[in-house]
Subunit: 189 residues, 2 copies
């Protein structure tokens, strides 16, 4: 069964040396779906690859006028832990990532940003998922009321740069996208 | 339908303020499975959360005696691109992560490590997956023959630290786990 999806027009086969022989959708949900692919590599060897198709997401490093950063403690059902993270959220269909970034910062953290600039992008788990993360630095922040969605359990925490670096060294910042986003920020400052 | 899996014994509900009302396995494959959860938050509000259950993985920063790092260009079917990455691979059942790290470095890069030390750990995509990444620094490297698995299309590249930092700034290193792993390394050096 071949099922074209939102990513079907992507010329993946042309850019890399493999051929997709078969594509079957095995899971469809509100956030992602799963495709089970049968692929042949450049030597004709056949392999199965299950791929999570995700709409993409944003991470927002929000910096206050005093230099501190707005972070969250986010109850993560998938890992059964509450994690220290930067604000994040998935893209809505057709929504430019910078708009998503501003919206998520308002909803999760209660800040409206006067400036939102891109820091870069990365894939969170390219071994099995196509989720692309767009990273932004938000500044010129104005406090507003938060608007959490059902199922979101999020506390806002304000940390200095040295406190974030200490959390990385201590192993208490274990959210991969936050580490990668901080790397993009540090590489530019 | 409630299906206990490898993670079912994890006391997730006790550590965070939600209750799993229903758990249904909707996808089962060789690398991961998907559970569709119906959860109630601490205020009794009901939400659906689809979760990818993954065995976990390792990332290996392998450093040669001259200070340069062994990286790979890895054809990633999930994102349809060839990515610059550090060596990585998923955990086999019961295999300690440091052993996986040594094995993957031999198979993908063709180096046997005399020393493998942990740099830290993180979750790659805690919004929808429980994949935990264990990061190692491998040194005292001896060249051996590579052993690629079917479907793996991987080239080894050797880069200096400043070349890796330039790739991060230029946006040509877009593998999240490699960015996060490099952050853990940089935070300690």
């Amino acid at each position: 069964m071949t099922t074209p999806g939102p990513h079907a027009s992507r010329p993946a086969d042309a850019r890399v040396g493999y051929t997709v022989l078969e594509r079957m959708v095995t899971h469809t949900g509100p956030v992602f779906r799963v495709e089970s692919l049968r692929v042949a590599d450049s030597r004709g060897r056949i392999a199965r690859r299950d791929v999570v198709r995700h709409p993409g997401a944003v991470t927002v490093l929000a910096q206050l006028a005093d230099g501190r950063y707005v972070m969250i403690r986010n109850q993560r059902i998938a890992v059964g832990e509450t994690l220290l993270e930067f604000c994040a959220g998935k893209l809505e269909p057709g929504e430019p990532p910078a708009i998503t970034a501003g919206r998520e910062l308002e909803e999760e953290c209660g800040y409206r940003a006067g400036s939102i600039v891109p820091l870069g992008t990365f894939y969170t788990s390219p071994g099995f998922a196509d989720e692309r993360m767009y990273v932004f630095l938000a500044t010129d922040l104005e406090p507003i009321d938060r608007r959490l969605e059902p199922g979101e359990e999020i506390d806002v925490v304000i940390l200095r740069r040295d406190e974030i670096e200490a959390a990385i060294r201590a192993g208490t910042l274990v959210d991969g996208k936050s580490l990668a986003a901080w790397m993009l920020h540090v590489a530019r400052t």
